[in-house]
Amino acid sequence: MEMNQIIFILFAAIIVVFSILTVTSRRILRAAVSLLFVLVSTAGLYFMLNFAFLAAVQLALYAGGIVVLIIFSILLTSHISQKMEAVDLKKSVFSALAVILGMILTITTILQFSFQATTAAAAEINMEVIGKAMLSYEVDGFVLPFELISVLLLAAMVAAIIIAKKGSPVSDAPNPDKP
Amino acid sequence: MNILSLLVLIPLLTIAGILFLKDTQKTRLVSAIGMGIQLIVAAVLVFMYLSERKAGNTDEMLFVRSYEWFKSLNIYYTVGVDGISVAMIALTSIVVIAGIFASWQVENLTREFFISLILLSSGVFGFFISLDLFTMFLFYEVAVIPMYLLIGIWGSGPKEYSAMKLTLMLMGGSALLLVGILGIYFNSAPGGGELSFNILEISKIQIPIEAQRFFFPLTFVGFGVLGALFPFHTWSPDGHASAPTAVSMLHAGVLMKLGGYGAFRVAMFLMPEAADEMAWIFIILTSVSVVYGAFGAIVQKDLKYINAYSSVSHCGLVLFAILMMNKTAMTGAILQMISHGLMTALFFALIGMIYGRTHTRLIHEMGGLMKVIPFLGVVYVIAGLASLGLPGLSGFVAEMTIFFGAFEHTDPFHRIATLVAVSSIVITAVYILRVVGTLLLGPIKNDHFNHLEDATWFERISTITLVVAVAAIGVAPYWLSTMIGDSMLPIVNKLLTANPF
């Protein structure tokens, strides 16, 4: 067994274990920390796949940004020590059943399918290539999605601010449906 | 500009005009003027039509214009008229103008009321001039949908219930109808070639009999729902009872005629073989409904219910006559549509006016009104006499034409059905006289009625217009009957290919 395989298995194990912890832990803060581990390991996988830039982005944005955001909101909405109530048994059994069936379905499909290995030479991926491709409007250019994403981000920012703003007229308007 | 398209355009322009107005008074005036112009255009159309025919133009349809609308499905905006549609258009324009004057006193949301009313009438006009099934269906929906608003907003009593019932039942009908129309469309070129929505083109080919067997009942029942075909008539009593005056007038007077007109122009004309095969079912249903509606009307207590059941009876006669599939009976059917349209509109107008004064529609609460409101009373009696088929008024002409046409069949089935239908004239007399006797004659039951005012000028215009039309047809039916009968020939010839009895 080669080194990279061992590393992969390690990462995979971390991802699987902490994923499960993320969704099952009854302490929400622990779940968030588990998520952090998952995200970091994912970044490791990206490195293994030779996507160094993306791995960096993953670490910075996900692990650094989103998880922090999540932890903040956890702190805003619950006590650190708060233990969540246990999951409804029926619900968890049905969900687990569906999920396991889905997993079996997906994995068997993956295993049955023979992916054709490619002989094409791997493209050079460095910051220059990525930056140019992102701003290129030629074939293989990504300026359109890039611009869309930027607009989306802007909109999301504005939306987040407006929604979260305290005492906004929308949220405080009396609700006629409620008795 | 084609004169036919003008008939659709004028109502739309009137609506546009109303949109810019704020003043109630001006809204009424603009509506009346717009629909007055419409009446004039309709009169001009009648005149043009007759002179064209006199000049020897023997085309099936006159003033045909066709504009491409949706190429890939061969949908065209195709308009054209024959004597039947001309007659129906004339009827509609008369009823609409009477309806406008009858709703002179609508106070609540006047602008919106008139807009809906005129939109409805625009749909009706469009329906009568269309030669393209799709366009026809479109206008049909345009005519039906404002009804919901008109009843739901300006109605009385359980108006939401009635409006919902009416709309749902009619929509159910249109669903069947849409299937039927699409069925016709996809069978319009059995030998290959371009599919078509055009009635005239489809009438030249023969739709495969298997397809006809399936789509004829759908189409016929689809239109039949609007034409109050038993047992799909129950929207009518509730709907009429809740609807405001002008809406009842337009609905019973004109909209229900779309059903009859469509049933024969689309269902019978395009699918004669299936019509011939299945006629017996519908003949039974309609002859039942003729008598049944009349019996139902006898014991009703509410004026509008009486009239609604009476409409079931009279409209049943229309469909009955259409199914007889010969020239005389079908001419009678059209005459009956016109006659019923006029007199029922008159009835509803009067009921609205009486209700506006007495604030009740229950006949046993009223009595002796002839003394206090003689004008309305006399007109009511005239309408009643027209309805029970008094010679000299339109109902007689129509009914007799139907009976004689139906009697042309020599087999016992048709003759017995005819006799059943004929017997309705007695039952009609019973309920009409019962209403007239209770409502107008006898001593005045309520002191409060002593101070009622007789008709105002706009009510007079509304009712006199209708009375004149009813009497004119009744006294001199020859030209109208001939105009309709001549236009009936191509249709009858097509039917004869199916039924060379």
């Binding site: - | 005819t418 007695v426 004659l441």
Partner: protein, 640 residues
């Protein structure tokens, strides 16, 4: 020829114009003026009708010895199919000209009379408008040149009768009576219409001149397939007769006639005595060639219904106390007699004696019955009551009315030389030769008629002295002049040589009085009068004793043999309670219920499936995921 009588169009048109004028502008005119206008209009018609009669009978050449049928006017009114079309036309032949005279005379007299009788009534101009409408319709009816035109005017006559009976529309009994009259005759008209449908499709024409031509094709082709043992032609003619029976108040469709007396008395005189009620007789007479040639069975029906009605009505008339009702039943009885005349007639020459006699009786009856009604009107006008129990000894107060009434009573009793003696006698002769049973019935009826008429006469003008609130006074001249004129006609119209004018085939024949039958009939008439005189001239207890003797019979007759109750049962119980109410219920609950049921079903279904819309995000998610998985499974493993 036709142009000669072109003016005849004016005869129905003038009353129509008067109707429109008075109907539309009547309330703007002064009541008096509108009455006068109507009367003048009718006066013109009166003159024109007499002129026409003169011209037709005496100044127009006969063709082959027969009076010709003249179509003075004809236009297509409505076209059904290529062969069938309704025309509006004017046909002049002996019976229509005779009817013109009858109608215009009586109508004119009634118009004049009403000027006095209806004076000061509310709706005076309306009354005249309706009278004009009636005159128009009735004239149109008799002048009709085809059966459908006749039907049209038949209906119009019915409606004018309805309007006039209900003239006092605030009186509930009048409203009920008018309704009853209209609906009963409407029901009869249904038969008429079915008869027309059958007849016209068998013969292919509406036109009288083709239909009634004895040698014509219509009659020959008509007698076709049989149904229930009778030919279609017979059925159709029986149905047509049903219409006639309704208008002419033959049993069992007579119930409207007594109630129709709720109308103003001049109306009863005009419509329910002299003109409209004989329309049925006229109808049968008009179609007489068809009846006699293609459906003699139908004529038997006519004869027996006529005979039964006449005796039935005569019995009831003996017990009634309302003078107008007595007259009404008398009318019914006399019309039955006319029907008998037609029913027992043959065709051509002296064979057609019954037909001629029937028409003759129609003529004389119109005069004396109108006179009786107008006289009754004058009496009611004077004492303000309809009941003979509240009258008595009026001969001193109302001398002219008394004399004219007496003349009329003598006429109807068949005492020579008054007119009805001649006409009634001829009918009896015809019946004698045709059917002895019918003759016997009519012979009894003759006696009964004399009895009840004189019972009426003695009760009113003799009998006990009654105390009146105000002293009765003789009617004004506008009312007495028509009485005198009609009395004059009643006396002398018997001398008109009817057999030279009105015959089945238009060829005159010599009529003579068969004294061997006439004398017995005069005798029984006299017997009736004498019995009435004994019983009612002085106030005695005799009538009560007689009534007590025939207690049950009297009670039945007094209650009109409970015919009204039977009808009420049929209408109220059967039609209202057992047909209409269930139909209405069925419609509301079953038909509409199933429609509402569909909507309720949809609603219930929606309520069930709305549980899916729980607002629980995770449930949605679960369903969504399961669905996606299922679809994936299907797509990957099954559809490939």
């Amino acid at each position: 020829m036709t142009t000669d009588f072109g003016y005849a169009l004016l005869i129905p048109l003038i009353p129509l114009l008067m109707f429109l004028l008075l109907g539309l502008a009547g309330n703007q005119l002064k009541a008096r003026l509108s009455g006068l206008l109507g009367t003048i209009g009718l006066g013109v018609v009166f003159v024109l009708s007499y002129y026409t009669a003169y011209k037709y009978f005496f100044a127009t050449e006969k063709i082959a010895g027969a009076f010709s049928k003249i179509t003075a006017f004809d236009m297509v009114w409505l076209r059904f199919s290529d062969s069938l079309h309704i025309n509006m036309g004017i046909l002049l032949d002996p019976i229509s000209v005779m009817m013109l005279v009858v109608i215009s005379t009586v109508s004119f007299m009634v118009h004049i009379y009403s000027l006095g009788y209806m004076k000061g009534e509310v709706g005076f101009e309306r009354f005249y408008a309706f009278l004009s409408l009636f005159s128009f319709s009735m004239l149109g009816l008799v002048l009709a040149n085809n059966i459908f035109q006749m039907y049209i005017f038949w209906e119009l006559v019915g409606v004018s009768s309805f309007l006039l009976i209900g003239f006092y529309y605030q009186r509930p009994t009048a409203v009920l009576a008018s309704k009853k009259a209209f609906i009963v005759t409407r029901f009869a008209d249904l038969g008429f219409l079915i008869g027309i449908l059958l007849l016209s499709f068998n013969t292919g024409t509406f036109d009288f001149s083709i239909l009634c031509d004895p040698q014509g094709a219509a009659i020959a082709t008509g007698s076709g397939a049989a149904f229930l043992g009778l030919s279609v032609m017979t059925w159709s003619l029986i149905f047509v007769f049903m219409g006639g029976a309704g208008k002419s108040a033959m049993f069992p469709l007579h119930i409207w006639l007594p109630d129709a007396m709720e109308g103003p008395t001049p109306v009863s005189a005009l419509i329910h005595a002299a003109t409209m009620v004989v329309a049925g007789v006229y109808l049968v007479a008009r179609l007489f060639p068809v009846y006699i040639i293609s459906a003699p069975d139908a004529l038997v029906v006519v004869a027996y219904i006529g005979a039964f009605s006449s005796i039935f009505a005569a019995v009831i008339a003996c017990t009634q106390t309302d003078i107008k009702r007595v007259l009404a039943y008398s009318t019914m009885s006399q019309i039955g007699l006319m029907m008998v005349g037609l029913g027992v007639s043959g065709y051509g020459g002296h064979e057609g004696l019954g037909y001629m006699a029937s028409m003759f009786h129609l003529f004389t009856h119109a005069m004396f019955k109108a006179l009786l009604f107008l006289g009754a009107g004058a009496i009611i006008h004077a004492v303000h009551s309809n009941h003979m129990t509240e009258m008595g000894g009026l001969r001193k107060y109302l001398p002219i009315t008394h004399i004219t009434f007496l003349i009329a009573c003598l006429t109807i009793a068949g005492i020579p030389p008054f007119s009805a003696f001649f006409s009634k006698d001829e009918i009896l002769v015809a019946a004698w030769h045709h059917d002895k049973l019918i003759f016997a019935v009519e012979y009894i009826v003759a006696g009964l008629t004399a009895f009840y008429m004189f019972r009426l006469y003695f009760n009113i003008f003799w009998g006990k002295e009654t105390h009146y609130h105000h002293t009765p006074h003789e009617a004004p001249a506008v009312m007495t002049i028509p009485l005198i004129f009609l009395a004059f006609l009643s006396v002398f119209s018997g001398f008109i040589p009817f057999s030279k004018l009105v015959t089945t085939d238009g060829i005159p024949f010599e009529g003579h009085i068969d004294w061997s039958l006439a004398l017995p009939s005069v005798f029984i008439g006299l017997v009736g009068i004498i019995i009435a005189m004994v019983m009612y001239k002085k106030e005695t207890s005799l009538p009560d004793k007689v009534a007590a003797t025939f207690k049950h019979g009297y009670k039945w007759a007094f209650n009109k043999f409970y015919m009204d109750e039977v009808y009420m049962f049929v209408t109220k119980k059967i039609i209202f309670a057992y047909i209409s109410t269930p139909v209405a219920w069925f419609d509301r609950h079953i038909v509409d219920g199933s429609m509402n049921g569909i909507s309720r079903l949809t609603n219930a279904f929606s309520f069930r499936i709305r549980e899916f819309q729980s607002g629980q995000l995770q449930k949605y998610g679960f369903v969504f995921i399961s669905g996606v998985l299922l679809l994936t499974f299907l797509m990957v493993y099954l559809w490939n």
